[in-house]
Subunit: 539 residues, 2 copies
Amino acid sequence: MTRSWWGWGNVEDAVRGAELTALLARVQALTPGDLTDHQPPAIASLGLPAPRVTPPASLAGLCSADPADRAAHAHGKAFRDVVRNLHGELRHVPDLVARPRDEREVTDLLDWCTREGIAVVPFGGGTSVVGGVEPRCDGHPAVVTVDLGRMDRVLEIDRTSRAARIQTGVLGPHLESQLSPHGLTLRHFPQSFEFSTLGGWLATRAGGHYATLFTHIDDLVESLRVITPSGVSASRRLPGSGAGPSPDRLFLGSEGTLGVITEAWMRLRERPRWRARASVRFGDHAAAVAATRAIAQSGLNPANCRLLDAAESLINAGVSVGGGVLVLAFESADHPVRHSLERALELCRDHGGEPSAATRGESGRDSDQEPGEATAGGSVTEAWRSSFLRMPYQRDALARHAMIAETFETACTWDTFDALHRAVTEAARQAIREATGTDGVVTCRFTHVYPDGPAPYFGVYAAGRWGSTVAQWDHIKAAVSEAIERSGGTITHHHAVGRDHRPWYDRQRPDPFAAALSAAKAALDPAGVLNPGVLLPAP
Amino acid sequence: MTRSWWGWGNVEDAVRGAELTALLARVQALTPGDLTDHQPPAIASLGLPAPRVTPPASLAGLCSADPADRAAHAHGKAFRDVVRNLHGELRHVPDLVARPRDEREVTDLLDWCTREGIAVVPFGGGTSVVGGVEPRCDGHPAVVTVDLGRMDRVLEIDRTSRAARIQTGVLGPHLESQLSPHGLTLRHFPQSFEFSTLGGWLATRAGGHYATLFTHIDDLVESLRVITPSGVSASRRLPGSGAGPSPDRLFLGSEGTLGVITEAWMRLRERPRWRARASVRFGDHAAAVAATRAIAQSGLNPANCRLLDAAESLINAGVSVGGGVLVLAFESADHPVRHSLERALELCRDHGGEPSAATRGESGRDSDQEPGEATAGGSVTEAWRSSFLRMPYQRDALARHAMIAETFETACTWDTFDALHRAVTEAARQAIREATGTDGVVTCRFTHVYPDGPAPYFGVYAAGRWGSTVAQWDHIKAAVSEAIERSGGTITHHHAVGRDHRPWYDRQRPDPFAAALSAAKAALDPAGVLNPGVLLPAP
């Protein structure tokens, strides 16, 4: 397999042939446009500027100035990243890509960069969709991207407490393959699972497999080791504590601005043995939302509880339904979960939901451990699941055909959801018309649900104009972000802030907390070299 | 009811008569000593120094210099606080007790104190057992204790999202009585429930009713309003977010050092309708621990899962059993929980546990909403529950009779529990012998359990020497704190750090995080007036 430098995942997995024909036909039916295919440029044609810095001899062996490396580390994997890559527009490229093998080398890199004022961009799998790894660091003489990919081992396993000490550069599948012989799993499956790292999940508070309870990676953290320019911060392994503000919670979500997270003790579990799954169709979206809320407040705590609206059901699960489809799954390594599913379905029926005939009962077989696997259960959800894993590849194919295809997400309390949903959808539709002159499609699903509110996840599909799709998307994104901010939602539930969400994050974040965070950063990173411009203004 | 200035709770609820006789007899049997009763001194005899400061006219109406007020705000409610009160030893007394009625007045108080360099001790219910409200602030010209007791209303209820906006000065029962007409409950019942406040719970990361999942108040917080000397920090109401490090998590556990928490949106729930409870006896403590771990890792998530060791069972539940008693309870407002209890009992039997004959099956009746109520279930647990609520009163009665009676707590991973338990118990026993020349009693229970470890809670009972019991206890406390620290536990799972846990907290806390926290404090409280000496060194 060859990793794509410009787009998602592996080159060999790109959408092509019959899948491409079908995808384009489906999208043409919704929002017709010019469908010329635009190939990615050759790296040699990019004309990258020469690196502005030479590493000291002691670090030279860790550092690559190879154009392919530098190009592949210039952007994340958002729509706007992919399109700019397709246009060969790489305005900010790291001067060097460093690949430390241990904490000593991370420290040495930070020391060198701190001394020279060189910006440091910590880099896991590079799947940021918010400009989190893009080195827009103009105030610095150079930028070194520190790719943690060589620090990818599970170092220690505590079977009794079900926890493991793990190097943070490990990709999802490699992590699970190291845990599997011990009968354990982290069971954190973001959509990016195959190409993102533990360190990236921790630094960005990634959302994972579980729709309820342990929604963010935060909840699975026992302790962290973080290399900061001011020393190593190592928290104690604890199942819970009340000793002052949580040290780990300061670094979770710090997005590379306070230090480089190198190791974590993570809470694990056994692979599920019992599973019960169903999908439920609703004729009315408000009723579907009410049913989902009832389940979220029931204490049943499903592993999956994903409400797809009508458009999402049609585009990504091939189901035509008026109000949407609720995908439900329960799982346990200890006990049957049939009762829980039955009660959840009862709550759905109370709200007019119709469980699919393809609903599966109790399953005793072991989980197949694939990301998204608990979304399976009946043809509707299997279709959706397969679509879920193909989405980023499809997005790239659409981007090559001048389509605008991107997602954004938030979370809000239940009482504000209707107004937020309306405001965001209307803002998106209007902005699409303004930007493209045509009507697009706006979809919504819930990725996670809480007793006090859902995490809505929106998709936008529209026919763009080749050469302008980034500007068109930026216009739409600004409009929906304004709508989210004004409706009381968070600018991100699990995509992180990066550089792109800053204007809205700055308004959402309490000013005194901004002052406290800036002061904390100044204490840990006095030279201000760590991921400048992310979370906080570049100095 | 009259609140005791020197001891726990209400004067009218003190241990007396037959209860006192029985208590003293029980303790005499375990650890004989001189049982003269020592009465608390009259407040007039304390000879408190005159206040060193006069409030400005605009704030005079909020400030009390009444000796009874000042004496009642001088100490928390730890054993060492009560004993020092009994001896009339009040070395640090606030100069004034201020009772603001709204945020404007809190701000005005902070402005005045910041201007004058006067130390500010935020005060909720004053039940700190770690010196958190004791004004040991020698570097300041005066100390004002800000008692939030007048800010005690539920301001707004969102029935849809099941949340409420609440002023933080509200005591537990008054909070529940305001929620009850709406069919909602916070369901956070620390042992101090009757006499502690929401603000105190938030500032100290209090542990509550739930033995699993939502163990700390932290998990029930939707948003916070905090008045800092640098402005108001108001976070957004969100069910979940991934926008940078959590602002709320910086203030949770800040123990009054960063600001005064004045309001919070808290997540609520409906009162439970189904409950299933049991107690399980074990002949062997290691087997009881293994059974408890199996339940903690099962995903069954009992509301109560409290393992009492043999000494704890005997002293506080009147049960003689070799390995201990596990008190289990499940509860739900939505669905029967019998299946969950049955599976938990199966896990207990697998480890040699014997469920009590008094085990209750499913209960359909509504909860009585009392603190600790889910601990009920069979005569063993009912005895323990009633004991739980009387414990602080009994502690005071013992203190008056020159007994040493105190608790301390921690949390650790399962793999380290055996060694920690042994080290702490041995350290306690040896220190008791060193301090008192006699053998005492050391008990252990789990207050909360996690998949990766328990929160052990220890009790110490020993015959002391009147006039020396504080020094004797301090010797014991230092020994057990060393043992906890060396064994990898946290110096506190839910009692907080305050001033008394500082030496061990300082060693446990990562140095870079200490630097970050100090910097954050300097940004929010530039004059360093907020609760000096708590969490961080006094300037």
